[in-house]
């Protein structure tokens, strides 16, 4: 029997994600209506339009570039969380590992004036190291990775603030701008910026992140390594039973997951787009938004590319909302709502299957009675 189109895993994930997005936007719209019904529709459309609110195509291209620049690190964080999740681990520490990557690449760039590749490598290493700590604690001390991840997030945050204070502008809480102080650490652009109306922030970071997503998909689905990691994730005891180094696999998984998050930081900070604020008092939201992107992307690396972009898109869109009526936090609200709704994805899939079950049952009954009728 041919499988119903709507029974396909991919289709269901996509549908569930779309429902989450639409519902999230819809509730956001309601909130806008309640605050001020006058501009609610314009505002919600602004959030959705983001850079399309610019009238000139050249500006649109430029700000598409900006949105992409910020999507790359988000995609990396989402990949980080997804990779761990596929192996049965919830790396809520991605935020901290991202933070560690920030610390490493900025320190290397601004203090030691390393070239970009060195900074990138150090960021990856820093993320991996903290990921590995979570893995070590998990496999040898049985510490739940969510708890240790949360603790490490704060430890890393405070540590980063402390270290990066050494490369802070004397008269602001921000680190030196990379573009001015350490241009050697900027990621190569390869002329990509010209596509986006000479956007200087568009670098190889964007293709690099997409390549990583594809690589992650291949590793998980096609390789022996992925086979081992997933086995460990699904059933740690069975992995041990069949001779896999299950402790090593857990550590490795979290290290890779951390490396991805750390790399994400490098892909943002080494474009010179932002500076780190040495008084940051909460863990970077990038890692948490990564959770949303992962689940919105249906736990699929390719889906994650789109969901990361989408979340960044509406977050950026929030900045353009008319401030006289609404505040820019409205887009935080909407993306938080979407994350919340992502919690219902499993239920949505279940509900879809139930509807399909009923529908097929009805069809079968109808068919059966028709056949019966035919026989009589």
């Amino acid at each position: 029997m041919k499988k119903n189109f709507f029974r396909r895993e991919g289709v269901q994930s996509l549908l569930a994600s779309l429902i989450c997005i639409l519902l999230g936007l819809f509730i956001g719209y309601i909130v806008l209506l309640i605050i001020n019904p006058k501009g609610a529709f314009t505002a919600i459309m602004t959030v959705v339009k983001n850079f399309f609110t610019y009238s000139k195509p050249s500006a649109q291209a430029k700000y598409l570039g900006n949105t992409l620049v910020k999507s790359a690190p988000l995609l990396m964080c989402a990949l980080s969380i997804m990779f761990a999740y596929k192996v049965g681990l919830f790396n809520i520490g991605a935020s901290g590992q991202y933070c560690a990557g920030t610390c490493a690449c900025l320190y290397a760039a601004l203090k030691w004036h390393w070239p970009w590749l060195g900074c990138l490598a150090l960021a990856i290493l820093a993320g991996a190291a903290f990921g590995a700590v979570v893995g070590l604690l998990k496999s040898y001390c049985n510490v739940n990775e969510v708890i240790s991840g949360i603790m490490l997030n704060w430890i890393i945050l405070y540590g980063t603030n402390m270290l990066l204070t050494q490369v802070k502008e004397p008269t602001s809480p921000y680190t030196y701008p990379v573009r001015a102080e350490a241009p050697q650490a900027l990621l190569p652009t390869l002329g990509l910026g010209t596509i986006f109306n000479n956007n200087i922030y568009v670098t190889i970071a964007i293709p690099l992140a997409i390549i990583m997503a594809i690589a992650i998909m291949i590793i998980l689905d096609k390789t022996r390594f992925g086979y081992e990691l997933k086995a460990t994730g699904f059933n740690r005891s069975a992995a041990k039973y069949c001779g896999m180094a299950e402790k090593r696999n857990i550590i490795l998984t979290l290290a890779i997951s951390g490396a991805l998050a750390g790399m994400g930081a490098s892909l943002l900070y080494q474009t010179g787009f932002v500076q780190w604020e040495c008084t940051t008092s909460s863990v970077p939201a990038m890692g948490f938004n990564g959770i949303a992107a992962t689940f919105l992307g249906g736990l699929n690396p390719i889906g994650t590319i789109f969901s990361s972009y989408f979340i960044q898109h509406i977050t950026a869109g929030g900045a353009y909302v008319d401030k006289t009526m609404y505040c820019s936090q409205i887009s935080d609200l909407i993306s938080a709502l979407i994350i919340y709704l992502c919690g219902f994805v499993l239920f949505l899939k279940f509900a879809m299957n139930r509807i399909l079950d009923r529908w097929e049952e009805k069809k079968r009954l109808a068919q059966a009675s028709a056949e019966k009728g035919g026989n009589v």
């Binding site: 819809f26 509730i27 719209y29 309601i30 209506l33 309640i34 019904p37 006058k38 501009g39 609610a40 529709f41 609110t53 610019y54 009238s55 000139k56 500006a59 430029k62 700000y63 900006n66 620049v69 004397p170 008269t171 602001s172 809480p173 921000y174 701008p177 922030y201 787009f273 932002v274 500076q275 604020e277 040495c278 008084t279 008092s281 977050t315 950026a316 929030g318 900045a319 353009y320 008319d322 401030k323 006289t324 820019s328």
Partner: protein, 373 residues
């Protein structure tokens, strides 16, 4: 689930209808004015009780009075790229005067101004040094001599008999540092004159709002004998007033005469305020452009706003309140203040504006305590 959805849908439709009905109300104004003003915020929001808020209030008041279109834009994050995005957005929406408070706009101006020759860029607190190499053909910047205001406040506090002072800065941005270093110099000057033993504790809270941590820190100061704290950084003063209220301590306000707000809740707490004429100068600038058509006299300049008169105290861009906002006493009278202003104006007293090194002092003991957070 279904039910909730239906209810929401009905609500939405109802609201939409209401929106439709009300949105037709505002009619187009008579003639479209020549200018529209947009403000782009720096770190923090237009409610930071500091430069963003003052700039916003000034622009808004002026535009409303003159029937001009005004709006403010808040970048998504604190980066040049995002500031430029908002500036371009404002320009895209037809605004042709962009007001930007904060030294951090230097790079954004360098990027954005040359590409939008027909737009007027008014920067506040962006110094000549920051704008080195910039195309200034459509840019005007104003920098304030906060160090003078700080100096006067410090001088006044010591002269008023306080010997244990504190300085609580917000984030160590140039303006905040200038206030602080000026405060130290002023206290030093007064201490030298009085031959008094004066101590200053000097710290930055590293944020523009108060919370339990900052309050706790302030509590230790007041508990150890600090008499008055110069709370210089947006909403951070709320922690200083909170702590001061417990032990009858005093505070010094910043930017505007803060006695008006602070004393409402805590009578007699404000010793004085170190003020700068951000509001007035912003209005004046807008007036010069819009009414006087005098952009040509401003453009390309970085105005250093400080004292303009040795006698007309209220005409100056920096100073302390001459009315009830300062707790005058026999040891420091309005006349003393006037003399001080004159001395500074005449160059008899020189106040260093250097923010890169701690000011030299001779009579006070300053303890630099870095950042609270």
């Amino acid at each position: 689930m279904k039910k909730i959805f239906t209810v929401l849908l009905v609500l939405a439709i109802a609201f939409s209808a209401f929106a439709q009905a009300t949105s037709e109300a505002p009619a187009a104004a008579a003639a479209a004015p020549k200018y529209a003003v947009a403000m782009v915020t720096d770190y923090g929001d237009i409610t930071d009780e500091s430069f963003n808020q003052t700039t916003y209030e000034a622009c808004k008041a002026y535009c409303e009075a003159h029937g001009m279109k005004f709006n403010y834009f808040k970048p998504q994050g604190d980066s040049t790229a995002e500031r430029v995005a908002m500036m371009e957005k404002a320009i895209d929406e037809g605004f042709n005067i962009i007001v930007m408070p904060g030294y951090a706009f230097a790079d954004a101006i360098k990027e954005c101004a040359p590409q939008n020759k027909d737009v007027k860029f008014v920067a506040l607190d962006v110094s000549e040094y920051d704008l080195t190499g910039a195309d200034m053909s459509n840019v005007y910047s104003m920098v304030y001599q906060e160090e003078l205001a700080g100096f006067m406040a410090g001088y006044a506090a010591v002269k008023l008999g306080y010997t244990k002072l504190g300085y609580l800065g917000g984030m160590a941005v140039p303006a905040v540092v200038r206030y602080g270093y000026g405060f130290v110099q002023g206290a030093d000057k007064a201490a030298a004159e009085l031959k008094a033993d004066v101590q200053i504790n000097y710290v930055y809270g590293n944020q523009f709002f108060g919370d339990a941590d900052i309050t706790a820190y302030m509590d230790t100061w007041y508990a150890k004998g600090t008499q008055v704290v110069f709370a210089c950084g947006g909403g951070i003063y709320s922690s200083a007033t909170e702590a001061a209220a417990k032990v009858g301590g005093k505070v010094i306000g910043v930017d505007v005469d803060q006695s008006l707000t602070i004393n409402k809740n805590y009578p007699n707490m404000t010793v004085t305020s170190a003020m700068k004429g951000l509001y007035a100068s912003t209005i004046a600038t807008l007036k010069a452009i819009v009414e006087d058509d005098a952009w040509n006299t401003l453009v390309g300049k970085v105005a250093n706003l400080g004292l303009v008169s040795a006698t007309d105290l209220d005409a100056n861009f920096v100073g302390i309140p001459t009315g009830d906002g300062t707790q005058w006493s026999d040891s420091f009278t309005k006349a003393d203040y006037a003399a001080l202003v004159a001395d500074i104006f005449n160059g008899k007293i020189v106040v260093s504006a250097d923010t890169t090194v701690e000011p030299a002092v001779s009579a006070v003991k300053v303890q630099y305590l870095g950042n609270i957070k």
